[in-house]
Symmetry: C2
Subunit: 285 residues, 2 copies
């Protein structure tokens, strides 16, 4: 069932809640791929009813980012989601989510703002305001769907930590279920933005997973000094790779690490053919 | 029933929700007076189960404000609330609400932040960060209690508008019920901070309601020019009154008014004996 209006979702949810059903939410920006499919599958397996939201959220894009060009494939998305067993696809317009003619800014709209410590690093450093937009839309979706569980990919590792944090801080009644990164056979982490890459670009994009795998291999051999581990990355980089960051942090609170351990999350962001790609690995996994 | 732990509240609420009961929330900072009593009474009349929260919320006090001295009278509060028919009094510690040893700042905690337009005026102008703290704690209480209805006094008029706004913007599933200001026979609006006043101070504090009543009388006689209405205030003021603001705004969106109408909210803030007092009136009522 495809639904565009908040009130329609709320009334369906009320029905389901009355029957005591467990509701799962998979929030997406659409352009669904096998990564999203794995989230929806997990949701279908563990919940009675599953809502997949498809919404390219304008307030999480920064000026100069790809809001207008972001791939929109709603018909295919609905087919894929329902094929896996989703009960409801919620695809609102920006007007429906933020009010018709409303200026999308913190001057006129209330926001959920994650802690600065969690935001002022990694992707948040270059994408100012991005996580405010993410938390705000996700909090809205939690309220609209009254989800018992919500499913997020480990691919967006900083986002996952930040969402867990605001859910805890603001006492939302939802359990956050992280799901592993899905990769192509080549090792490339699935992303809707991979669509922007040429075939050659997809090969160059393997540098992210190669760097991470090599760091993990070095860690497994006993190297724990973060500077030494970082240096192993350089041999992989050419002028086709515009690296934004390679960071080692605690997987739960994003504290910087100087010595790696099993809880260390290694994150990388790198542009290939102008496309910003991210990937990450937890060393103890 | 007095409860200090979030988990205890949540488990009680789960029970009630299973029975399909309608839950009302009256959020307070304690030091309950007849104003709060009127909120609790309304909640008891319209809901199946009523939760009164008593929490002096540290993050809504600005530096130099009266957080430490704010009156705390929990035993009396519980008696009063239960006497009216409240089913649960929730009185958490700051540690319980914000985490033990947690630094209370937007560096380490997620916040609900109301739109700047609604905040950068009236009380928000002198109380920077105050409404961030209010919205955050109220949002937390909505999530903890899953209230169907929440009751707020018209006394804190800007707060009421801001809470309605963030509830709408973030799609919280709670109906906000405004309740009229309760006054002493003298006209003085009830406030927990009236306890700071001497007998003489309480007389001087009547200036707030006198100014508002006079403005209303002038409006009823046909004066609608806001500057003219503002000027009527001056004859009431002496050196014992330190006026902070007297403003005319739309009662729903806080837009400044130059011409008064029935939807105009007139707000006043004035210090008497160093105590910051507020009052307001809607001209059409």
């Amino acid at each position: 069932m495809l639904v565009h209006k908040i009130d329609e979702v709320k009334s369906k949810i009320r029905e389901w809640k009355k029957e005591g059903l467990k509701i799962g939410l998979v929030p997406t920006m659409g352009a669904l791929h096998a990564g999203h499919a794995s989230l929806i599958k997990k949701a279908v397996e563990t919940c009675d009813k599953v809502v997949v939201s498809v919404f390219v959220n304008p307030i999480q894009f920064c000026p100069g980012e790809d809001y207008a060009e972001y791939p929109r494939t709603l018909d295919e998305d609905v087919k894929l989601a329902e094929g896996i067993g989703a009960d409801l696809v919620f695809a609102p317009s920006p007007d429906e989510m933020y009010g018709k003619g409303q200026r999308l800014s913190n001057d006129t709209l209330a926001y959920i703002v994650p802690p600065f410590f969690y935001v002022d690093k990694l992707c948040g450093k270059s994408r100012v305001g991005h996580f405010d937009g993410v938390c705000t839309v996700v909090g809205k979706l939690f309220n609209i769907t009254q989800a018992d569980c919500a499913f997020f990919g480990q691919k967006d590792a900083q986002q996952l930590v930040i969402i867990k944090k605001f859910v805890k801080d603001l006492n939302f009644n939802v359990e956050i279920i992280p799901c592993p990164i899905v990769r192509e056979e080549s090792g490339l982490a699935l992303s809707s933005r991979n669509k922007y890459l040429t075939e050659d670009g997809k090969k160059e994009a393997l540098v992210l997973s190669k760097i991470l795998n090599n760091i993990k291999a070095c860690y497994d051999k006993g190297i724990t000094d973060v500077n030494a581990l970082k240096e192993t990355a350089f041999s992989f980089l050419t002028e086709k790779h515009d690296m934004e960051y390679l960071e080692f942090v605690d997987k739960d609170d994003l504290e910087d690490k100087t010595t790696a351990d099993d809880n260390t999350l290694v994150l990388i962001a790198c542009r290939v053919e102008g496309v910003r790609l991210i990937d990450n690995i937890i060393l103890g996994k």
